[in-house]
Symmetry: C2
Subunit: 351 residues, 2 copies
Amino acid sequence: MASLGEEAVRNKQVILRDYVSGFPKESDMHVTTTTTTKLKVPQASNAVLLKNLYLSCDPSQRTRMTNYQSSPYFLSFTPGSPIRGHGVAKVLDSGHPNFKKGDLVRGITGWEENSLITPPATETLTKIEPTDVPLSYYIGILRMPGMTAYAGFYEVCSPKKGDYVFISAASGAVGQLVGQFAKLMGCYVVGSAGSKEKDDLLKNKLGLDDAFNYKEEPDLNAALKRYFPLGIDVYFQNVGGKMLDAVLLNMRIGGRIAVCGMISQYNCLDKPEGVHNLLHLIAKRIHIEGFLVHDYNHLYPKFLDWVLPQIKEGKIVYVEDIAEGLESAPAALVGLFTGRNVGKQVVVARE
Amino acid sequence: MASLGEEAVRNKQVILRDYVSGFPKESDMHVTTTTTTKLKVPQASNAVLLKNLYLSCDPSQRTRMTNYQSSPYFLSFTPGSPIRGHGVAKVLDSGHPNFKKGDLVRGITGWEENSLITPPATETLTKIEPTDVPLSYYIGILRMPGMTAYAGFYEVCSPKKGDYVFISAASGAVGQLVGQFAKLMGCYVVGSAGSKEKDDLLKNKLGLDDAFNYKEEPDLNAALKRYFPLGIDVYFQNVGGKMLDAVLLNMRIGGRIAVCGMISQYNCLDKPEGVHNLLHLIAKRIHIEGFLVHDYNHLYPKFLDWVLPQIKEGKIVYVEDIAEGLESAPAALVGLFTGRNVGKQVVVARE
């Protein structure tokens, strides 16, 4: 485009059109190109200009498409602006002393080619020290999903060797790690997922004891009874709704449920599904705990020290589903809710 | 009745006719008189013959009227037999070395004048050492409801001075104690109950900061926002259903919910109400725990040492609703589910 000014550059962006109700559709977002971003940070600012490399698709981004107005607990995206989320990026220019051109960083960025982050709060943007694992792992196993699995399983579920562990959405970004962590601890582990391909992955690649396709089970209670004839000690919940109800019927006394996510509910936030079997909490003395990964940030160095060698030795694997290019990002995000992705959904932002 | 044999005595009984679905009715039970019980235990047995003095009406008795068949978690009553429950009784005759004629005991007994308990497991029948508190307290503040409030509040709710505490069914057998315990700890305490009389009791006799009649609140969420503008730290749940949903909307970060009972659900066990707002568990990192009082039996001596002086000094009071005679027992039990009772519902079994 010869008509562009000297400093103006094109910046492809994935824009949220408007607040969403129900299932998100690709048409809730549109890909456009602006020419407003310059490849320099404004003079005398402490901003950082990023070239985005990998962008993360997370179920929680759906909740941010709901208009929460002034809720202190849920933050909404701004319609007309790029989707925001976790990413890995390279610093193109920096007015901030912590970052310099060429640095690799991870943190909260925009769904666009280049993002001007200003001011870059250190807790939302962190330099990546070089490692020999894929850079995309810094939006997966090495950051939010990895820490979510680690804190949720070890800190919230109080697991013991020999426990019967059930994981829903077991091949997802978090679930695939919980299953492996539980196997390393000596638990009996069964996962549910939404296709035969995913079940095979769970059993053959991730080493779970068994797996089932929830879409082919007309009676989830019966399915759980088949896989857990003695009941469930630990449920790592990524789903909610009907699956939680069926699990409550099959929990053992003193069972623990870590509420990590409720992906089945994110698209019906106006009218979430009812959970009917909470009475079982009493007779079975069940402990349910919701958690957010950022409460466990202090464990991150310990987690990295523990997980990096296991990745390098092949004891823990991480399955990614890579979508190429920002044009593919809306479909990749929407696909989380139909289970299209196999493993952690990553978008490659670079051209 | 001159026709009775020398040893035969009349024994009035409250019999469960058949399993119950939906709300229990007085006609689900009938009062009858048998003449089979003798005032002696069978020779060479280790049974104990009790003259029942006080019988306890507990919401959990409704759950035992449901036919659970072989569930290991819920035990059903036997239709055609007397209702069973907690009671205070005097020993008329004993073949057991731990008990002798004239002893006062508390434990599991039948809804009848005289009960032959055989064999009397020591965990279900315990001698009462003389105290100067009313004997009926041994089915109330000094036993199951008291320990439920004590363990549920101090062990499950992790309360702190200054916490905002909400109690449903706050004037009931357990709730009235949780409110007083929370006030002793320096919490801000609001209770809900089902009449103006009960609200007055909560505020004026039990010393709660405030109380409201849930039956007059068309919007429970709005009511809770009025009484807890900053949110709820601790919810002592006796109710379930819609109230739990409203509470979930009003919990603070790190809030704790002790699931003691779900009286609103005991009459619709075939189709319990749905709870829709569990998504709030995650963003607010809420901890929900179901508990059963008998897991905390080891704390009973400590509890007695703590609570008896406070009762004697008038720092803790206990409100009882006394029904006279076994004929009044069916109505007293059914009344728990319409909120007819004010305080702990007791039936006086003696003539």
